[in-house]
Subunit: 121 residues, 2 copies
Amino acid sequence: MQSVFEIIAEPNRRAILSLLVSSKQSVGEIERQLRMPQPTVSKHLRVLRDAGFVESTVDAQRRLYRLKPEPFQEVDSWLDQFRRFWSVHIDALERHLDRMDQSTQTKGKTKEKTTRPKPRT
Amino acid sequence: MQSVFEIIAEPNRRAILSLLVSSKQSVGEIERQLRMPQPTVSKHLRVLRDAGFVESTVDAQRRLYRLKPEPFQEVDSWLDQFRRFWSVHIDALERHLDRMDQSTQTKGKTKEKTTRPKPRT
DNA sequence: TGTAAATATACCTTGACACGTATATGCCTT
DNA sequence: AAGGCATATACGTGTCAAGGTATATTTACA
C-alpha cells in the first residue's frame, strides 16, 4: 500500500477521515458512529497511520486518533497539474481552441503542444 | 469500480492522465511514451472513460483521448473538508518544525511543502 | 488479584482487478 | 480484394487487500 491514492480509495477509510475532521476520536467512537466492526476500524486506522494520514495518542486504554495534514496536501498538489486544464476548459473559448486543435492535426501527426492561454487565477 | 478515488488509485492511470494534460493523445502515442503494452493502455482508457475522466474522438483508425474536468473537481471538492483543517495546522506545524529542526526525529520525514489551501474556483 | 473494557493483531477466505496473450473489429492503402 | 495498422476485447492467471472470527495485550477497577 504505497501511495496516498490507494489509501483514500477505500470508502471506509474516507469515512473515518471525514469523521476525524471535526475532532479527534477514539476507536470506539468511530466504531459506533460508522457502525463498523472494531477490528475493521483498527485495521483501517493502522493503514491510515502508516500512510501518515492520522496519528494517535494514548488515553488510558483508549487511543485517540487525529488527522495529519501532509498526505492531503500531497493529493492537492497532484491535482494542481489539472487545475489549469479544468479552469480553462469550462468556458467556450476552450471549446473553440479544441476544435482548432482537431483541424490542425488531422494531417500532422506531430504531437502539437497546443500553447494555450494560461488561466487567469 | 465506482468512485473516482479508485480510478486514480492505479499508477498507470495516473500516468495516462498526466500525459493527457498537455494535449489529446492517441492510444499509440500513449503506448509509446509510457512504454506500456497496448491492451493495457486500452483497458485503462476504457476505465477512465467509463468514469468520465476522458472522452474520445475518432480519427480514422485512431482514437484521440482527452481529459474531462468533472471527476477532478469531484476529488477537489472532497478535499475541501480538509482544507480548513490543514490551513489551521500549517502555522503550528511550521513552528513545530522550526523547533524540532536540529533534533532530527526518527519519524521526521521533512518533505513538507506547506502548501496553503487554494480558493475554490 | 481477577474481570471487564478498549484496542490491536493473527489467520483464513474471498473477491476484485491488473496483467499477458490471443483474437476480434474496423479502417486505410495498394 | 487483400493485407496491414490501430484499437478493443475476451479469457485465464496471479496477487493483494478487505472482511470475519478469534485471540492477544494493556489498562482500569472492584
